[in-house]
Amino acid sequence: MPLVAPAPQAPVQLLSPTGVRRSRPTGEREYPDVEEYAALVADVGAEQLRARYRDMALVRRFDVEATALQRQGELALWASCTGQEAAQVGAGHGLAGQDHVFPTYREHGLAWVRGVDPLQVLQLYRGSSHGGWDPSDHAFHLYTLVIGAQLPHATGYAMGVQRDGLVGTGDRGRDTAVMACFGDGASSQGEVNEALSWAAVFSAPVVFFCQNNGWAISAPTARQSAAPLHQRATGFGMPGVQVDGNDVLAVEAVVRAAGDRARSGAGPVLVEAVTYRMNAHTTSDDAGRYRTREEEDSWRAKDPLARVEAHLRATDGADDAFFDAVRGESDELGARVRRGVREMTDPAPTSMFDHAYAAEHPLVASERAWLETWLATEPEEAR
């Protein structure tokens, strides 16, 4: 008798692609805890769903504008998040204000929910900064471009949270979780697996949030992992849950549950949000070379914004005036982003020396002095 893999379950879904909100199991392959998750977001009514829709629409508009700015030569690169708005906006709203987020380089929706200004995000992609914002302003750390390197950081940060006595006190306003974002491609990295194991061993309050968007540049998820990613959690000693990443409500519910567990001191959780990267990995690659139009169209039918709109319209939660207002606000955001990028000034050349070291460093000081002198010298004199 050959070994048999467990029957797959459907990811947690509370809002169907056609906009039907669910609160109890309806089919054979239904996720069994759907009622518990639905109860966790019972407070998310029409008003809150309109706010989620607005967030997703503005993030998408920002993403479209940034893509255009890259094509116009204003940005060196852009990593689009179109298609992943529900995963990111849902996760952002599922967290508590005091929680910390360690993002990858595509977390524009999470950055938005956390209050990071889109123009700050664009400094990195314009090449005018390696960061762009102060992590302490929004408990949102800097983007990390080395795949998966931020998971150990998040884990260590969570160990600090533990040592600061901010786990398991029962004070919902103080107990703190750390969200570590990564993708399906990053799941292949050693450090990601080290961090999962490490966090479980130390019961660190980490919500590992994997956005499985189907592709790691040109390699499909099947090339990264022979097993569903959320199933790895068991082997590391933590719960794993798969959620429909295009369902903003389900992601919020699952992240709330994972955050509650981490903050209580019960340890980490692995959340796999199954979603799809509708555009290329970045503006540097061509998705047409490695995937089909049919696949993209099938995901377009599961669009995260469309299902919220369908639900709101069907339940009289929003009318044309609302959607028109969001569209107008989106256009204003696009114009502000375009104008802001073009008005960005380059940093001073000698700013490269400013934070290489915190304490004075003789070599850096002498090289700074040399560049200052060089820049102050007319080219013909310098030679």
Partner: protein, 372 residues
């Protein structure tokens, strides 16, 4: 042969540029015994004392590494510290070097001062990406919004008869990476104070600990007065000065060494002196930044320079020292700067490592060549 175990008494020349070592006097500086003052300690126990005293002085200091708790580390450097400070401050980690470093970065972002122990030099490479791409660069990315005061201790170098991957000299990788400070103490006193200084300043520090000197003994003064008298963290020192009279007799050579080869240089100096040749031994102490001022001052006096280290000569620290001295002291030099070091081969099996490691004889051969 005990020159390395005592502090130099002669004044150190030309330490003009040493702003980085201005460490605050730690509160309650005391030896591992709890008593302030001078004790004779091995280099390893001097590090133990420094860790103990730093942890006592600053509750944000914590240690992370493999087997550092109940075992006290494979070299017993952390012996007894977990019993004193508990499992949350002396953390026995999973066998995961990348995450020892990565978690330390996260802890530092949270306001802690992690000290990572890498068990052996050859095991640092799994953590290399976290060190050079994250630890070194993140302060610049943060642009003033955060610091990463992480200390990484790496026992390094050969000469203890170890097996593969246990005797390497990777210091140039780290010294080449901007954003890191790299130090290598050669004496128990320096091991104590350089570690204490590392744990009171804001930048990441890679501490290359010369493992074959772990058992060398020397006087360690843990008093606050000793800190005030200690050179800055980035400063070189003249471990064996040569008088102007000796130099003018025409038989003096500057030998630049650090970590495990300081004692090699001092041994060579004793042998050379018997033949009327004086070696002024400069102990770099800091590999990045490099205190070239001390080296240059000595080079200008002697006109002859030899650099010695265990790492392969090709693109090693000696290349940087030679280039700097040649650029700044060309008209004072009587001979090309020579380098003595390891070969460009993977570290050899222990039974033949004595032929790889530069010893006093190889150093003296180079001295003869710069005098020829």
């Amino acid at each position: 042969m005990s020159a390395t175990t005592t502090r130099p008494t002669a004044p150190t020349p030309d330490q003009t540029a040493s702003p980085t070592g201005a460490a605050a006097t730690p509160a309650g500086a005391s030896g591992a015994s709890g008593a302030s003052g001078t004790a004779t300690l091995t280099l390893a126990k001097a590090i133990t004392a420094a860790l103990h005293d730093a942890m006592a002085a600053d509750e944000k200091v914590l240690l992370m590494g493999e087997d550092i708790g109940r075992l006290g580390g494979v070299f017993r450097v952390t012996d007894g510290l977990q019993a004193t400070f508990g499992e949350d401050r002396v953390v026995d980690t999973p066998l995961a070097e990348a995450t020892i470093l990565g978690a330390a970065i996260g802890l530092a972002l949270r306001g802690y001062r992690p000290v990572c122990e890498i068990q052996f030099d050859g095991f640092v490479y799994p953590a290399f990406s976290q060190i050079v791409s994250q630890l070194a660069k993140m302060p610049a990315r943060l642009a003033g919004a955060g610091q990463l005061p992480v200390v990484v201790r790496i026992p390094y170098g050969g000469g203890i008869g170890a097996v593969e991957h246990h005797s390497e000299s990777p210091e140039a990788y780290f010294a080449h990476t901007a954003g890191l400070r790299v130090i290598s103490p050669a004496t128990p006193q320096d091991a104590y104070w350089m570690l204490r200084q590392s744990l009171t300043q804001p930048d990441p520090v890679i501490v290359m600990e010369p493992k074959r000197r772990y058992w060398d003994k020397g006087a360690v003064d843990t008093s606050a007065a000793a800190l005030a008298a200690a050179p800055g963290l980035h400063s070189a020192r003249v471990a064996r000065p040569v008088s102007d009279a000796r130099v003018s007799e025409g038989g003096a050579v500057t030998v630049v060494a650090y970590g495990p080869t300081v004692r090699v240089a001092l041994d060579a100096a004793l042998a050379a002196a018997e033949e009327g040749v004086e070696l002024e031994v400069v102990d770099l102490r800091s590999l990045s930044p490099l205190d070239v001022g001390v080296v240059e001052a000595s080079a200008r006096r002697t006109g002859r320079v030899v650099v010695v280290h265990e790492a392969p000569v090709f693109l090693g620290m000696g290349a940087e020292v030679a280039a700097r001295v040649t650029e700044s002291c060309f008209h004072s030099l009587e001979a090309p700067v020579l380098r003595v070091g390891g070969f460009s081969v993977p570290y050899p099996a222990a039974r033949i490592e004595e032929h790889y490691l530069p010893d006093a004889e190889r150093l003296l051969d180079a001295v003869d060549r710069v005098l020829a």
